[in-house]
């Protein structure tokens, strides 16, 4: 049976792990490879690196980090942040990443998605969608909708996030990483309505991101939001919960998870 994945996300800048609230106020949280190794040992199903600086002069540092990680940690690695071309994606995959997540560049030029999928296969192409809820003006009772943002949550595109998700999949996205800007860093739980709106309209796996505070949030993202995987950062980095504790709670709730076997030394 296919497990529901628990994925620690490491926001990286200049080769270090950082974390901010709502994409700002960054603090240093350690060495990425050290953290990734710890998480793999705890049972992380995958590792995501998001290069939040994504400055062209920092690419060498990122590629070196990806290579060091791929040589140390034998679980899947997804890398995102600032990938703007097929060539840049090729470099990241060659360094040892399994998947690349596209965000702002795909919003700017959606053909990047099908060009990357044609070259590397859709299973290597993750499209990351940062979405914020907007109420309908003058009608607080209306359902509202979500708008996709570019550049780490700074630029409002005006695109409906659910429609963008469907378009991205049609173009060749093999997976969607859906972050609620409203919830990110707040500990108020994943936006399960956003997740459900997106996951019910696409065949590909959806990774929930933004707002996890405790085990119940992970369970709800999957059960209520229809997510296939749950991603979190600070609650793992700050050791509020271990990956194992989250997975145990998910198993308790009846979700299929991959538990680490007790191993003789």
């Amino acid at each position: 049976m296919l497990s529901r994945r628990v994925i620690p996300c490491l926001d990286v800048a200049a080769g270090r792990v950082v974390k901010g609230t709502r994409f700002v106020d960054l603090t240093d949280e350690g060495d990425p490879v050290e953290l990734a190794s710890r998480y793999a040992a705890e049972g992380a199903d995958e590792i995501v690196y998001l290069d939040i600086t994504a400055a062209p002069e920092g690419r060498g540092t990122l590629l070196e980090l990806v290579q060091r990680t791929a040589r140390t940690v034998f679980i899947p690695l997804t890398v995102g942040g600032g990938v703007r071309s097929v060539r840049e994606m090729r470099d990241v995959l060659r360094a040892g990443a399994d998947k690349v997540s596209l965000n702002s560049a795909a919003l700017g030029d959606p053909t990047l998605i099908n060009r990357c999928a044609a070259r590397f296969g859709r299973q290597a192409v993750v499209v990351a969608i940062d979405a914020a809820r907007e109420d309908v003006p003058g009608d607080p009772g209306a359902a509202g909708r979500w708008i996709a943002y570019a550049r780490g949550g700074r630029d409002r595109t005006g695109l409906d996030a659910v429609a963008w998700a469907q378009r991205a999949v049609e173009l060749g996205a093999g997976e969607l990483l859906v972050t609620s800007i409203d919830r990110d860093g707040t500990g108020s739980g994943y936006d399960t309505e956003l997740l459900r709106a997106i996951s019910q309209g696409v065949p590909v796996p959806v990774i929930a991101s933004g707002g996890a505070a405790g085990p119940d949030d992970f369970v709800r993202a999957i059960r209520d939001g229809g997510a296939d995987a749950v991603l979190a950062a600070s609650i793992f980095h700050r050791r509020i919960y271990s990956i194992g504790a989250i997975k145990a709670a998910m198993a308790e709730a009846g979700l299929p998870v991959r538990m680490m076997a007790e191993r003789a030394a």
């Binding site: 296919l2 497990s3 034998f74 299973q123 796996p205 296939d228």
Partner: protein, 213 residues
């Protein structure tokens, strides 16, 4: 030390495979042409993506005939993901003709609740299989694919997984082995499987040599 050739034809994560082989005590050699295959004890063909472009790249590197000859000689081969699928006659994904070493096609995984099939799924070996030595039935491995092998001969299937429908997770015919999942991305169980492959290769080409697990 067992020398394991890894086909480097621009389709797959070679960093992880090469490093994983080192960790299990084998010596990885990336091969870009037939000449580099000399002196290898075993061959791994990795790969993700579509069959057509992969076959094109293998042809451009003039690796198709050497791979066929390698397998025809009964030498140890491990196909990973696309490297398994290429063993069959053709792929439904893009209609590409593939190596045709095993009868059957690569077909879309039918009835899957999500596609691509991405993540850790449990694998059930059929009976005792040297490739799964020391790996408990129901152990999870990492998969990432939308197509699966549909062999003419069910007898080549040595392990199954299920995502909507059951499909071959591993195949074998003598020293010809293939896994649909990615052992190089499947943590310690994946490393164990690569160590087992290395041991199979050692038993074939250098019987006296032991391979650490």
């Amino acid at each position: 030390m067992i020398r394991v050739a890894v086909a480097d034809y621009g389709a797959g994560n070679l960093v992880s495979i090469a490093r994983a082989l080192e960790v299990v005590g084998a010596e990885p050699v990336l091969v870009r042409d037939a000449e580099a295959l000399r002196g290898a004890d075993a061959l791994i063909v990795p790969g993700v993506g579509a069959a057509g472009p992969a076959m094109d790249r293998l042809r451009r590197r003039a690796l198709v005939e050497p791979i066929r000859a390698w397998i025809a000689a009964g030498r140890p081969y491990l196909g990973i993901c696309l490297g398994l699928q290429l063993l069959f006659d053709a792929s439904d994904e893009d209609g590409a003709a593939t190596l045709g070493i095993l009868g059957g096609r690569t077909i879309k995984l039918a009835g899957a609740p999500t596609l691509p099939h991405i993540g850790w799924n449990t694998v059930e070996p059929r009976g005792a299989q040297p490739l799964f030595d020391g790996i408990a039935p129901g152990t999870a491995f990492y998969f990432v694919h939308s197509y699966v092998a549909a062999p003419d001969d069910e007898g080549v299937v040595i392990a199954e997984a299920e995502h909507g429908n059951r499909f071959p997770a591993a195949i074998a015919r003598g020293n010809l082995l293939g896994v649909q999942f990615h052992p190089e991305r499947s943590g310690s169980d994946g490393l164990r499987l690569l160590a087992n492959f290395s041991a199979i290769a050692a038993g074939t080409s250098r019987p006296a040599e032991a391979v650490p697990a």
